[in-house]
């Protein structure tokens, strides 16, 4: 990977033990069940760019984000921020919290209801020891509130005095307090109304331009991803099935899953259009199908898809897909 990559994930995996208890296993004679929430996921994010991680619930996108944020140690593989292995951060051995911050989906759950907003925003400054004096802190909180479109006077209020959109602005201000370079956004607008969503997306793009932020942007909403991302990685059952630039992915998707996901996205522009609904459902991740895990739902599946797992491979022009038939289907 080139030196300009800010975050590089290499064969990142996170497995969870979903087995029944030891006794139940012995009595029923069942083996351990390992749930591969994230399975050998690799991607790189250049400095200043936005990589979107897309997929349906249970595909492992949030678990991948937690590993990348250093909140969860991976089972194997690495997530490397500049020269630091995020595993060290997850284990509390390396301090990177200043540079890597996270914005969560639910602005109602992510703010402490008992703390005044100013205290919430100043918390990272205190925790990371970059606080300065009380006056400096108040100054910085006011400046952050202004940056996210609120007023410095709002620092004295409590979260319940704000609407959902304003709360997400507060969460963004808190994430920016330590002047991070890399921000992981996990469904930052999914809980918001569309007119508010537009405000938050615009704000996030403005802040990226002003501060040169790098985003890992997690979403299930393809239209939002199309608006925010430079590159898009599509996940299915813990694995990346396609990784391409935004233009490539949306104009000529290579993987059948990506294609169906785009076709199934509800769009206000498609009035009365019959969607071709995707067949079947996401299989249980604790017991994924053999071969390509998408094959039971794939209209193009052949014998090889049922027996052999396709690896993510380059299709030329900076695009990768994990499909045996990617070229033939293009």
């Amino acid at each position: 990977m080139t030196a300009s990559q800010l975050m590089v994930a290499e064969r990142l995996s996170r497995h969870f033990d979903a087995s029944p208890s030891w006794l139940a296993r012995k009595l029923a004679g069942t083996p351990r069940r390992i749930l591969k929430a994230v399975d050998e996921v690799s991607f790189a994010i250049p400095e200043g760019a936005t990589l979107a991680l897309v997929g349906e619930s249970g595909c492992g996108k949030s678990t991948a984000a937690r590993c990348v944020a250093g909140l969860l140690a991976p089972s194997s593989g690495t997530a490397r921020y500049r020269d630091t292995d995020m595993r060290e951060v997850a284990k509390g051995r390396a301090g990177l919290r200043r540079e890597v911050q996270m914005i969560f989906q639910d602005p109602y759950g992510s703010l402490n209801p008992r703390l005044r907003v100013g205290r919430t925003i100043a918390d990272p400054l205190v925790a990371l020891g970059i606080a300065g004096s009380r006056v400096e802190r108040r100054e910085r909180v006011g400046q952050l509130l202004r940056e996210v479109g609120l007023s410095p006077a709002d620092a004295e209020k409590f979260p319940h005095e704000f609407s959902g959109g304003q709360r997400q602005r507060i969460a963004i201000a808190r994430a920016l307090a330590s002047k991070p370079a890399f921000v992981i956004c996990d469904e930052p607008t999914s809980a918001l109304d569309v007119s508010i969503q537009a405000q938050i997306l615009n704000l996030m793009r403005d802040l990226q331009d002003q501060h040169g932020l790098t985003y890992l942007f997690i979403s299930h909403n393809l239209a939002v991803v199309d608006h925010m991302a430079d590159r898009v990685a599509v996940m299915y059952l813990g694995r990346i099935v396609e990784n391409a630039t935004r233009e490539q992915l949306f104009s000529a998707p290579a993987h059948p899953y990506t294609r169906q996901l785009i076709a199934a996205s509800p769009s206000a522009g498609a009035i009365g259009k019959r969607h071709e609904p995707m067949r079947g459902e996401v299989p249980n991740p604790a017991n994924p199908p053999a071969g390509c895990s998408f094959h039971p739902r794939c209209p193009a599946a052949t014998n090889i898809c049922r027996s052999e797992r396709p690896e993510l491979r380059s299709l030329g022009d900076a695009r990768e897909a994990a499909c045996h038939h990617a070229e033939a289907l293009a």
């Binding site: 349906e56 619930s57 609407s163 959902g164 959109g165 304003q166 109304d193 569309v194 007119s195 508010i196 969503q197 537009a198 405000q199 997306l201 615009n202 793009r205 299930h220 909403n221 393809l222 239209a223 939002v224 199309d226 608006h227 935004r246 949306f250 104009s251 169906q260 996901l261 785009i262 199934a264 996205s265 509800p266 769009s267 206000a268 522009g269 498609a270 009035i271 009365g272 259009k273 019959r274 969607h275 071709e276 609904p277 995707m278 459902e281 996401v282």
Partner: protein, 357 residues
Amino acid sequence: MPDAPLPIDRDSDGTVMSEIGQAPATSPVLSADQGPLVSVRDLVVTLNSANPVQLVRGASFDMAPGEILGMVGESGAGKSMIGTALTGLVASPLAITGGSIHYRGRRIDRLQGEAMRRLRGREIGAIFQDPLTALNPVFTIGRQLVETIGEHLGLSGQAARAEAVSLLAQVGIPDPQGRLDSYPHEFSGGMRQRVVIALALAGRPSLIIADEPTTALDVSIQGQVIELLRDLCARRGTAVMLITHDMGVIAALADRVAVLYAGRIVEIGPVAEVIARPRHPYTQGLMDSIPELGRRLPRLRQITGAMPRPDALPPGCAFAPRCPKVIEACHQAVPAFDADGPHRAACIRTDARVLAA
């Protein structure tokens, strides 16, 4: 029209207690087979507290038999409250304090107790957002279906079971016979929502109130449920009030759409018309602020500010403080609809009659 809230007693799971309510005040203004299926006039729903707050402030609309009417709006706009009023589930501290609801020409907004209970389910079914809480976790879905079928169709035993299997098959559950004895937790989210749809259809209603029926589902499953609802309703001639915040779902499913803002319908019309040529500045702003696949703009156009809280509404048009086209007169009076045709908006800036005056 009495302004006093209707005292409706409910037990803990929300069903009306079986006390027989007063005789329904029927006013057969429309005969059952030619008029609209539903006719709502100036509906007001109030939250009674120390300072009563109107959550729905005079909504009027009709629904034709078999029609899918979308109700779209942001959280707090009052869209769910209208659905709740139609299902007769408005419970204290909420109350219908004005206007009327007619179903097949019969006034239903003052029905209580058993009379409402007979209407609900058999005539008016409901589908809610979260399929996990809509089903009782301790009973098999077969038992829940058979109970509902018995209640509404008077079937029992084998006949009820056969009807339950047929319903599960219609909503696309594989192996319906075998799944009858499964519990809700044994189904995936999408399959659970299909069961909820089967339950709503069990009484063979003419109207289904679907409140965010696809919001809790993944995109790929959402498409399946949309197609299912459309096919079933077309086949059975069931009308649907589709309550959602998602214009994409409205575009895929609805015939007409009503846009709500701060408790009022600000625009109503055929879906294609409203989406292609939105008239109300709020609808215009809403459409512009939705990111569209394949239409990347440097910035999304955004509506500044947020919807006012129902207890702090501005005078005149509630959208005026956020409106790019606001004039002095907007703050004076609540605007009426600008036209009599099928597509109308409540805005004086689009009203040729006001502009000419």
